[in-house]
Amino acid sequence: MKTIQIFDPALCCPTGVCGTEVDQALVTAAADLDWAKGQGARIERYSLAQQPLAFAKNAVVKGFLERSGQEALPLVLVDGEVALAGRYPNRAELARWAGLAVVPAVENSCCSGGRCC
């Protein structure tokens, strides 16, 4: 299985809920990544604020930061190669990279677990 690595900008937490503004993209990304993980995808997530060494030690990420700056994050690597930059992957992209089955439609989710709302 391929390894998906997400290099986040300097956030206080992956959903951004303890930041001054909650970014919808972060909330959605956290849910999508959690979903892919649940499907068995191999995902690693690094925060620039808490794990800057992971950025410094990876030549691809370090080069990207020097060229494009932190404003261009997040950066997504699949098996070490740049797959996406500047935004978070959606479920379809994650599924394709990880070789997962097709994403179920989001509408059904509210009835998941047999309890309809």
Partner: protein
């Protein structure tokens, strides 16, 4: 004194600001040390005064107190702890990653949450450090004002619970991310706090009805955390024989004994001690010794500073100038116990009396003030209260409703979990704060702030928000915007009133606060010296000795610190209710 008997290893002194926690904690530590026990005295107050009491520098490392064998002191400095944390993270990549990236990381790690966690990390370390246990018989904690302390004491449970329940790994650990090894430490700290054999909590209060009600609430909240072994110390009680020939002293004695007679039921079961009001400042060894030993003679006064003193204006003069602008934000700041809430109410009442629309908002849990004012029939006045718990709940519900709307059940569960992170409280309070100050464009908003340490954290959040917003706007090419920080920095919008007492420590602390504010680009507009005995004319010998020592402090405020100043006398009756607040503002006591 019952609270000194068979002391356990940890003693916490807590209570609202200005009740004398530092004096009692220092005096207790001195007493134990002189009895031959090894003592560590720790201040967790971001604005610690322990150094001043002993007249020597202390700081963020164990420091022997020169004058007192067996006594070591330590001031937990949240800023220094946060800096150490930042250095640990950023140090290895400095010079490796681009400079502006490193700066960005540091900025992200300079929020209120990082500061709080770093201080808290150090605090739990003290409760669980085996080496310290071997070196010291007792650790005496002089804590920050109540709200901050309850939070500090709740955090070990909060974080332990949060860490235990979060198994997804993608949670909002904020600055705690990568500190997995701390889990054990937090759990051990919770156990130490809940162990009656090891921990005693001394609730310090004044003989004042509202203060005692607040202490009753603190008692309940801390008992709920497992801190069940509590003592109550009523500090600064005016001795009954002072009532003799002086109306003011008689009124105070009457009011204090009424407050003590009506002790809230929750407190009535606790061991209670009374410490009399001292005629001298509690600075230096002789003063500390005399505080807990009625036989000891305290420091001798230098000759009384008698003679003529300039008359200073009252509150009405300041309110006249505030009213002239027609609208704006008025913030009252200062250490706890100086009367910010009462003065905020007095300013609000005096503005409303002129028919000006006023919103008075307070973070003080003393809801009785809001009640009296609501019933006071001032149509132009609305009152609200920022309650951190309610605000946090509101924030969580709002984020779940908006940002979590389109998530599936699993995604929502993840978001909900992240929202339980203790970090969100700071954000929620900040948002409530910015919501309210936006109103100040049209009417008067009078805000009573939390004690100094917390106010500074709030300003940090405001500054961080401003920088984030400025970055965002720059990216989108928007140049006209106003952040809450810009509003606070604009003298046409915001007037900061610093409240102090005419005593050495409060004046020094207020001056430090003023420096901090200026560094944040906020120029305080005026000072209020509250509860002055010197301004009150008294024949009580004890009060007269205190009054004499106030004048040099009043002079210092007027000449060195304040651009505008008001002086308010100590009141015979507690200024509660519209009529008394109006009288206070008008300068009739």
């Amino acid at each position: 004194m019952k609270f000194l008997d068979t002391p356990p290893r940890f003693l916490f002194f807590t209570g609202k600001g200005g009740v004398g926690k530092t004096s009692l904690a220092c005096a207790t530590a001195v007493r134990f040390a002189q009895a031959g026990r090894t003592v560590l005295l720790v201040s967790t107050d971001p604005a610690s005064n322990v150094a001043q009491v002993f007249g020597q520098a202390i700081g963020n490392a164990l420091t022997a107190i020169a004058e007192v064998p067996n006594l070591t002191a330590l001031e937990i400095d949240p800023e220094a702890a946060a800096q150490a944390y930042r250095d640990r993270i950023v140090g290895p990549v400095r010079g490796v990653l681009p400079d502006d990236v490193v700066r960005g990381i540091e900025e992200q790690l300079s929020g209120a949450c990082t500061t709080e966690i770093a201080a808290f990390d150090e605090f739990t370390g003290l409760l669980t450090d085996g080496e310290l246990m071997r070196a010291f018989d007792h650790i005496v904690f002089d804590t920050a004002p109540t709200g901050h302390t309850i939070r500090l004491l709740q955090l070990p449970s909060a974080w332990t619970g949060f860490l235990d329940n979060s198994d997804t790994g993608a949670s909002c650990l904020g600055p705690l991310a990568g500190l997995d090894k701390q889990r054990e430490q937090y759990r051990a700290a919770v156990a130490a706090l809940a162990d009656a054999e090891r921990t005693r909590l001394v609730l310090v209060a004044r003989a004042q009805a509202s203060t005692l009600r607040e202490v009753a609430r603190t008692h309940d909240e801390l008992a709920a955390l497992g801190l069940t072994r509590q003592h109550l110390v009523i500090n600064g009680v005016l001795p009954g024989d002072e009532a003799g020939n002086d109306a003011l002293a008689a009124a105070i004695v009457r009011r204090e004994s009424a407050a003590l007679a009506g002790l809230p039921a929750e407190l009535a079961g606790l061991p209670v001690d009374r410490v009399p009001l001292m005629p001298f400042n509690l600075v230096g060894l002789p003063a500390l010794k005399a505080l807990l030993d009625p036989g000891a003679s305290g420091p001798q006064d230098a000759s009384d500073v008698a003679g003529a003193h300039p008359a200073l204006p009252g509150l009405a003069a300041l309110v006249d100038q505030i009213a002239a602008d027609g609208h704006g934000l008025v913030m009252l700041m200062g250490k706890g116990g100086v009367g910010k809430t009462t003065l905020a109410a007095a300013v609000a009442v005096d503005l409303a009396r002129r028919g000006l629309p006023v919103h008075l908002t307070t973070s003080d849990p003393a809801a009785h003030l809001a009640e009296t004012l609501e019933g006071g029939g001032l149509a132009a006045l609305t009152v609200s209260r920022i309650d951190p718990h309610a605000e946090t709940e509101r924030y969580r519900a709002h984020v779940l409703e908006t940002k979590g709307r389109d998530l599936d059940a699993q995604g929502r569960a993840l978001l909900e979990e992240d929202l339980r992170s203790p970090c969100t409280e700071e954000i929620a309070v900040f948002q409530a704060f910015s919501r309210i100050i936006r109103e100040a464009g049209k009417k008067f908003v009078v805000m009573d702030t939390a004690p100094t340490g917390h106010t500074l954290l709030l300003l940090d959040a405001t500054g961080a928000y401003h920088r984030e917003m400025a970055r965002h706007m720059q990216k989108s090419g928007i140049h006209h915007y106003t952040t809450p920080m810009m509003q606070l920095q604009d003298p046409a919008q915001t007037k900061v009133l610093i409240v102090t007492l005419a005593e050495t420590t409060p004046v020094l602390e207020a001056a430090r606060l003023q420096d901090d504010l200026r560094r944040a680009g906020i120029a305080p507009w005026g000072w209020i010296i509250n509860n002055s005995v010197a301004a009150a004319h008294t024949a009580s010998p004890l009060l007269a000795r205190r009054a004499a020592r106030e004048w040099p402090q009043i002079e210092a405020v007027r000449e060195q610190h304040a651009r505008r100043v008001a002086l308010l006398p100590l009141q015979a009756e507690e200024p509660v209710g519209v009529a008394r607040l109006q009288a206070l503002a008008a300068g009739q006591s």
